[in-house]
Symmetry: C2
Subunit: 148 residues, 2 copies
Amino acid sequence: MKIDSLEIIELEMAIFVRRLTSLSSDKKFGNIDRSAYLLLHQISAHGCAGVKALADIFQLDISTVSRQASSLEQKEYVYRIPDPQDRRAYTLQITDLGKHELDEYKKARSVRFKEVLKEWSDEECQTFAQLLRKFNITINESRAKEPS
Amino acid sequence: MKIDSLEIIELEMAIFVRRLTSLSSDKKFGNIDRSAYLLLHQISAHGCAGVKALADIFQLDISTVSRQASSLEQKEYVYRIPDPQDRRAYTLQITDLGKHELDEYKKARSVRFKEVLKEWSDEECQTFAQLLRKFNITINESRAKEPS
DNA sequence: CTACATTGTTGTATTATACAACTTTATAGA
DNA sequence: TCTATAAAGTTGTATAATACAACAATGTAG
């Protein structure tokens, strides 16, 4: 029944976050942490954006993203383009170095997941990938509808 | 192909952790956080255990678990039983109050997930639950084999 | 008996985060 | 047009979860 599944999901998600958190910090995979990864991925895949927009996307405080952006800028993984329309604002653009690091990081993570999932069948991996993606979309939608 | 799935999993997991982290802290669901929840669940479901054993299970530093345990003890969600064989050690036992709070917390989380997943079919929920559980078991095994 | 190992605690540092105060710039209302 | 308010970002400060190191008490093996 669906209720049973929900209870399993509820518990397993808590465990899952714990496991993934230690998996991620296990190896720092170079200079990038999960936050930086998501930021870099976002501007690399979906175009450059300002601090505010990124904070909205990731449901983080603007100040948090501001610091993450500074850190990325300091490492020269991104640079700022002033917004000609609005002199308060700017957008973050990924640099070649940033693209390179992002790629390396992705590769390192994929290697790790490949090893963890080496006994899983293709089908299981595909299904899991789809459901994870669907969950992320779902939770994003559900968040958008709610009184934040 | 499996490689493609792995790349999706790799990215979606990072997003997933971000989403879940903000989902969990969104509402503090009472007095319990994720760490406390996992600790309480562990000793409730799998019997009482000492700080060392719990740290091993969750891949946390002993000092971290020690503090979490103190915090739970202070809230009277657990109590300590000295180990008669080893006077350095003790085990943590859940109290009735602890059981109650654990239950409430589980319920609150389930309500939240139920809402997020309300449009999902029974089958999808079941499959997702199974794969999450399987992933947690897999990652646990893979960890055990490795040079920690 | 001595040396080493183990369980747990506590001090300290780090990291990711939020909130609040602030600056600069934009916009809307009188 | 002037003024009040809103918005984009930054920086100061606080908190929470974590790790590492130093330590105390106890156990174990040579």
